[in-house]
């Protein structure tokens, strides 16, 4: 499973241009606060289900078993690391970046403990690294507008946020609630992931990952007519 993911990511990033990006003082635009919902056990349980069904633990630790040692605690051995770039196919080829699934437990110094649910939400919806993104409600997908950072810094591959951003808000809040309040903190410092100086911005353009929200159904490649469904 992990090996397959490595290869696909490598192909996506083959020949990537290393455009530089950084943080800038983000627009202090006033937006209506859409706060996280009240944390309840059903919400946490819903988050747990989503974490299980989205395979979070296959990279972040625990291998689909919440009772397993290292559940969501991040990299604990080198075989949990990824090689991103052509080197995943051809050893020695460049660029080559080692990325490491982070500790998702609510430990303060090594996990998500000091990040808000909103920062976790923004990571899943927009791919924005919590440590590089203000704790604010984002109301735009355009860099520099609606609190979207002027120079966005994205989670390292192979984190599949471009797919998961399409989950409904309620699901993302549920995942955030589970990670913050449904998991016991594990102190496990994961070494920082490597990456290009643009923090993958040139890889996560609309041209490469499509828009959010997705083009409404039916796009030009989709369609549905009742007549096309065989009679059962």
């Amino acid at each position: 499973m992990r090996r397959a993911t490595k290869t696909s990511v490598c192909l996506i990033l083959f020949g990537c241009a290393l455009v530089v990006a950084g943080f800038a003082r983000s627009a202090a635009q006033t937006t209506a606060e859409s706060a996280a919902p009240p944390v309840t056990e059903p919400l946490v349980q819903r988050g747990r289900l989503l974490v299980l069904t989205h395979a979070c633990s296959e990279c972040h630790g625990g291998n689909d078993n919440p009772a397993a040692d290292g559940w969501l605690a991040g990299v604990r051995s080198p075989d949990m690391e990824f090689k991103i770039g052509p080197c995943a196919v051809t050893p020695g080829a460049t660029p080559c970046f080692t990325t490491r699934p982070r500790n998702l437990t609510p430990d303060n110094m090594t996990g998500l403990g000091r990040f808000s649910e909103r920062q976790i939400f923004n990571a899943l919806r927009y791919g924005l690294r919590p440590e590089d993104t203000a704790d604010v409600t984002i109301t735009s997908n355009t860099p520099g507008q609606g609190n979207f950072p002027a120079n966005p810094k994205y989670l390292a591959p192979p984190m599949p946020w471009p797919s998961w951003r399409h989950m409904p808000d309620a699901d993302l809040w549920a995942i955030a609630a589970y990670l913050k309040y449904g998991v016991k903190p594990v102190h496990n410092r994961v070494e920082d992931s490597e990456g290009p100086p643009d923090f993958w911005a040139s890889e996560y353009t609309v041209e490469k990952i499509g828009p959010y929200p997705a083009t409404p159904f039916p796009s030009g490649r989709e369609g549905f007519t009742r007549a096309s469904v065989p009679t059962r």
Binding site: M109, A134, D135, K153, D198
Partner: protein, 453 residues
């Protein structure tokens, strides 16, 4: 003597007041001077001239020498094309005199900074502008200078030759102009990430200067890190330093150290023993230090850089001088007296996930209160944390108790580590800044407002 040899001008304009109060060796006096910030042209690197911003026409600005108890009046004239201030980094002065972004002086404007140097404040400080969002630019263009505060009862022998070593770095374009790329350019973005580092290293505005020492002699050096982002890991090959002080003055006892890690804004006072033979030389270097995140770590981060040549004279060695084992008392701030423990998280450009807003108060505290601040660095890049107005003491770093007590106003918080400090707001109500002293981060809003009332 060494100070002059290294090319630092010392501004020492004192107007003695008629007063019989005070200690016989250092009666209170009024020191009055003018600092004018203006654009000018200087030769900072060989062969070209550079447009700089300078205090009184020099880079660095003049070294200011005060005594404990001095009443200081600085007439500041802002002849820059943009707002500016003078922040007296580390000095305990009233909030209105702190030169913070709250009190920016408009272009063409002027302001009188008036304050009294407290007893016990003897030490090494520095001054620099602190306007909102353009501090890094103004420091990069040359606005910074050293401050030395002397005590009437300094325990170290007055005979020790003394040098201020003001460390800075800069980057230049081929035509000599200072390389400040647009913020949205690739280099501009790296400069935001790491803070802006330069490849030309200066000591007192000079490149690899030579400092003379006599064999056997002991010299007193005052290091100041006035860079925008660079952390110095100072070492003198083959010998140790006897560190006697840091930001807020002397320690209780000298401490033998092999090297000194000096983050932006920090100071260190050391004794250097001339252990080399007559005619020999030694080089002060800054050793590699990985303060960086992987994404923007410079390719040459692991190279050492020469800063200064220490040239031994041909004179025969002098006899050893006796150095005191005790320096002064540094009374401990008592954690059991702390009324609050606050958590400040550091991430890339944010304190506690927020960008600074001058209309917001982030921390409200009572005058006279003692507090513990737990400063947690959540990211893989060191952040030097600076608190205005009040000297603090470090309690522990990542849970390891601080080995000796010192007054600090700036402390490096290494990547993914935490530092606990204790501070007492003993006087001076008002609004104070606390921030990351990587100037690009500070300018990006990695700053908070502490209101003491």
């Amino acid at each position: 003597m060494s100070v002059r040899r290294l090319g630092v001008s010392t501004l020492f304009v004192a107007v003695w007041t008629a007063s019989s109060f005070g200690q016989p060796t250092a009666p209170p006096r009024t020191v009055e001077l003018t600092l004018t910030a203006a654009a000018t042209h200087l030769s900072l690197v060989p062969g070209v001239t550079t447009e700089v911003y300078a205090y009184n026409g020099t880079v660095p600005g003049p070294t200011l020498e005060f005594r404990e108890g001095d009443r200081v009046i600085v007439h500041f004239r802002n002849n820059l094309p943009q707002p500016s201030t003078i922040h007296w980094h580390g000095l305990h002065v009233p909030a209105a005199m702190d030169g913070s972004p709250f009190n920016a002086i408009a272009p063409g404007g002027h302001y009188d900074y008036v304050f009294t140097i407290p007893r016990g404040a003897a030490g090494t400080y520095w001054y620099h502008p602190h306007p909102d969002q353009i501090t890094g630019l103004q420091v990069a263009k040359g606005l910074y200078g050293a401050i030395v505060v002397r005590a009437p009862d300094d325990p170290l022998p007055a005979s020790l030759p003394e040098s201020v070593l003001l460390l800075s770095d800069n980057r230049f374009l081929p035509d000599g102009s200072i390389d400040i790329p647009p913020p949205d350019s690739p280099q501009g973005r790296v400069d935001f990430e790491n803070g802006r580092e330069g490849d030309v290293l200066f000591v007192n505005g000079r490149i690899l200067p030579t400092l003379a020492i006599r064999s056997g002699e002991v010299q007193r050096w005052r290091f100041i890190n006035a860079s925008g982002a660079r952390v110095y890991r100072l070492a003198l090959a083959g010998q140790t330093f006897l560190q006697v002080g840091s930001d807020g003055g002397l320690f209780e006892h000298p401490v033998e150290v092999k090297e000194i890690l000096l983050a932006v804004g920090e100071r260190a006072e050391v004794l250097v023993r001339g252990t080399g033979p007559p005619g020999s030389r030694a080089v002060l270097q800054t050793l590699p230090y990985d303060r960086y995140i992987p994404q923007t770590r410079p390719a040459d981060w692991n190279e050492a850089h020469d800063l200064l040549t220490l040239q031994y004279t041909d004179e025969p060695a002098v006899a050893p001088i006796a150095l005191p084992a005790e320096l002064r008392a540094v009374p401990a701030l008592d954690p059991s007296k702390a009324t609050t423990t606050r958590v400040v998280t550091l991430s890339q450009g944010f304190l506690n996930g927020k960008v600074m807003d001058m209309s917001r108060v982030d921390v409200s505290a009572s005058l006279g209160a003692t507090e513990i601040w737990e400063i947690e660095n959540l990211v893989g890049l060191d952040h030097p944390f600076h608190m205005h107005g009040f000297q603090f003491q470090v309690l522990d770093r990542d849970g390891v108790p601080e080995p000796y007590r010192a007054w600090k106003d700036t402390v490096n918080v290494p990547k993914h580590e935490s530092v606990r400090i204790i501070v007492r707001y003993d006087d001076f109500p008002g609004k104070w800044m606390y921030h990351c002293h990587i100037l690009a981060h500070e300018d990006a809003g990695m700053m908070g407002v502490l209101e003491v009332k």
